[in-house]
């Protein structure tokens, strides 16, 4: 996927003024937040579950290499193959080779953020393969030639009317702009496609080490079809997706469904394990798992380790006021919202994704809802610190910060400057406020600046001889 993180500010500004997007976002936010709150309220031990999940994920990450080896062994034992990809390029090369060997013409894909991360669709298209997205949201953005704007609801930025128009244009039909109408329409179009696919590529929500199974959850059942009807099934997953046991997966699945969509569990939870056996009624002839590192093992050893607990539920973006105002495309890459503000700079560069961690108020609601208790605001701040160490903050800001620091360490100077500023601002005030302040127009373009009275608290207090 093309990296457009440098365009954050213009794209965010545009998003703020896109009426369709604003309508879609308002609908979505209301739904996600309300449903999650209700689902969480139904489970009195939800907080205890979050804590258990945090602890368990950390334990697993501490022995990740061990669990990955165990997983690979089990996959082999049931007749599957595991491929290790150090980076996006290796991952693409492995999958392209597998498709070529299978003589594939058509590839069906279930939703997979890792496949977006490694730019798989573009690579397959270069090889002349037809890629059919089977997740409804992915299918919509594919028709619209857009990237997904949310990690669990890729087309959340579109209104029903926009989707109906898109279907009309591509299918030559006139679907009703209602959710059931559109789902039926997409289903009819996709059904027949499933039967012509050679290779099915899915993501994985979890990989279970004790059995070698991969688990995906969907609400449309497209995952099942993608992986059972094709001759070759390829699972792509980040290395952090492995969990030791089915019991572990169950804990995370409970949290995932409630946090993501407010369901007790998603409609379909699909387990897949190796190729078709002699007495299986269906299933693929070949079963491959591509385990993608792409910087993850580096994260394991650093200050961002906790980010590897992420189970990609999307709750942080659903509760983020900035995401709610601009949607996912403004973030310019695969991962939007709070989790993306940590991950994207680590994947594409602290410089290239400069704005993401900075365009955040640190209000903390994301961290409060994260099912695996990732301290997102702290990690976002940590990225800013790393940017500071690399000298990436704008030069004017760096100078201002350095001057401010020198003053703040010298009380006489600091208080003197404060007294001066306060007097100056007081003379500019009219009716208690300043309407325009050259030099601080970033503030006064949107708001008045309340004018101070002309004396600081410290000078008034000490003038009264109160103490010291």
């Amino acid at each position: 996927m093309q990296i457009r993180t440098r365009e954050f500010v213009p794209r965010a500004t545009f998003a703020l003024h896109d009426p369709n997007l604003q309508r879609a976002l308002a609908n979505a936010a209301g739904g996600f937040i309300g449903k999650r709150a209700k689902a969480v309220a139904e489970v009195p031990e939800f907080e205890a579950l979050r804590e258990a999940a945090r602890v368990r994920k950390d334990e697993i990450l501490a022995e990740l290499d061990l669990w990955l080896e165990r997983y690979e062994e089990r996959v082999r034992a049931v007749g599957g193959q595991v491929h290790w990809a150090r980076d996006a390029e290796e991952a693409r090369a492995i999958i392209r080779a597998l498709c070529a060997r299978a003589g594939a013409k058509t590839v069906a894909k279930g939703k997979s953020m890792v496949s977006e991360e490694i730019g798989l669709n573009e690579a397959l298209a270069t090889d002349g393969l037809e890629v059919i997205e089977t997740d409804l949201g992915e299918y919509i953005v594919q028709l619209a030639k857009e990237p997904p704007s949310h990690i669990i609801a890729p087309a959340v930025h579109k209104t029903k009317e926009q989707v109906a128009e898109l279907f009309a244009e591509h299918h030559g039909t006139t679907p009703e702009p209602t959710v059931p109408g559109l789902v039926t329409e997409a289903r009819e179009q996709l059904r027949c496609q499933f039967f012509r696919t050679d290779v099915g590529i899915t993501g994985a929500n979890f990989l279970i080490a004790e059995t070698g199974a991969s688990v995906i959850v969907t609400n449309e059942g497209n995952g099942d079809l993608t992986q059972t009807l094709a001759r070759v099934h390829i699972v792509t997953a980040g290395i952090e997706k492995v969990v030791p046991t089915l019991e572990d997966a169950t804990l995370f699945l409970r949290l995932l469904a409630r946090s993501a969509t407010g369901q007790d569990s998603e409609t379909y939870t699909t387990y897949s394990m190796g190729p078709r056996r002699a007495d299986d009624p269906d299933g693929p002839q070949e079963y491959h798992v591509v385990l993608v590192d792409n910087g993850r093992s580096r994260m394991l050893g650093g200050p961002w380790r906790e980010m590897l607990r992420c189970i990609r539920c999307g709750a942080c973006m659903n509760h983020c006021p900035v995401y709610g105002a601009i949607g996912g495309h403004a973030y310019g890459w695969v991962y939007p919202g709070p989790m993306g503000s940590v991950l994207t700079p680590l994947f594409v560069g602290l410089d290239t994704a400069y704005d993401l961690p900075n365009a955040c108020t640190l209000n903390g609601r994301c961290g409060e809802v994260c099912p695996v208790k990732i301290p997102l605001p702290d990690l976002i701040r940590e990225v800013r610190h790393a940017q500071q160490r690399d000298g990436l903050h704008p030069p004017a800001e760096q100078r201002a910060k350095a001057l401010w620091r020198r003053a703040a360490e010298r009380p006489a100077l600091y208080h003197g400057l404060e007294r001066l500023a306060v007097r100056l601002l007081a003379t500019l005030g009219q009716n208690g406020r300043i309407r325009r302040l050259p030099g601080l127009s970033a503030w006064t373009d949107a708001r008045d600046l309340p004018a101070p009275a002309g004396r600081t608290f410290l000078e008034l207090w000490h003038a009264k001889g109160r103490d010291q």
Binding site: P321, A325, N358, N363, R384, H393, A442, A446, D448, T456
Partner: protein, 256 residues
């Protein structure tokens, strides 16, 4: 009314940068509430900023330097109290973390964190609420600021204290846990985003038909008062402590 013995100490009042410059009345209100509760109040002359702008802006080094200064200024008091949840969150949560690896300062940072309080929580939990004698016959809506709400759990205290004010009617806004879009330097680094979040918040506040907006952090209040003034909304804005101390008889924030 005799005072309980645990309130015989001296409190260092932390004069937050914004309060010091933009709204001294909040400082006087804070001091009055603390004195009414039986504490001796001192305001160290040499205090400056807690360092939060540096910390959030990426400059850990500057934040550390300012943390050490603040600790040295305040560690002799029985308690540090500030009329701001945001600065307090920095003192309580970030100082120990920032100085964790500094053998000379780690213990001192934790000791100060342990006796640092946001003013409303201090009155609510350590006593003094019963001495609030103020009258404010208005319909008010209280804005929860994010740092106080999430890092310090300030939710009950302001509401409980405001319930003691004669004539005051508290109305709750919708989406009260949603950020107002101030975010410190965010407000000037990403003005268009900040404006949109402010507008969303202001509409929720106005929908309550309250006459007055109260809050516990001056940053958010300057931002909201500025936005309300810009759209000519007939609403007054005060810091909660001004109302509790009976010092909300003057013009509201951003008014004359």
């Amino acid at each position: 009314m005799p005072l309980p013995p645990d309130r015989a100490g001296t409190v260092g009042l932390f004069a937050t940068c914004l309060m010091n410059a933009m709204r001294p009345n909040i400082g006087f209100a804070a001091a009055q509430l603390l004195e009414d509760a039986g504490w001796r109040v001192e305001v160290p002359r040499e205090q400056t900023c807690c360092g939060q702008p540096a910390y959030n802006g990426g400059d850990e080094d500057a934040a550390r330097a300012l943390a050490r200064r603040t600790i040295a200024q305040f560690e002799a008091f029985d308690a540090l109290v500030a009329p701001s949840g945001s600065c307090l969150a920095t003192l309580k949560h970030d100082y120990p973390r920032l100085l964790r690896d500094d053998p000379l300062w780690a213990g001192r940072a934790q000791a100060l964190a342990d006796k640092s309080w946001e003013l409303l929580t201090f009155l609510h939990e350590r006593g003094g609420a019963e001495r609030i004698r103020s009258r404010f016959p208005h319909r008010v809506v209280y804005h929860d600021s994010c740092s106080g709400l999430r890092q310090l759990g300030i939710r009950e205290a302001p509401r409980a204290l405001l319930a003691r004010v004669e004539g005051l009617t508290l109305i709750e806004a919708e989406d009260r846990e949603v950020c107002c879009g101030f975010g410190g330097t965010f407000s000037v680094k990403y003005p268009a985003l900040s404006e949109r979040l402010a507008e969303n918040k202001v509409q929720r506040l106005l929908a309550t038909r309250a006459e007055v907006v109260l809050g516990g952090d001056l940053g958010c209040l300057l931002h909201l008062a500025g936005r309300l003034a810009r759209i000519c909304a007939p609403v007054r804005v005060y810091h909660t402590v001004e109302v509790l101390a009976g010092l909300a008889d003057g013009p509201g924030i951003g008014q004359a």
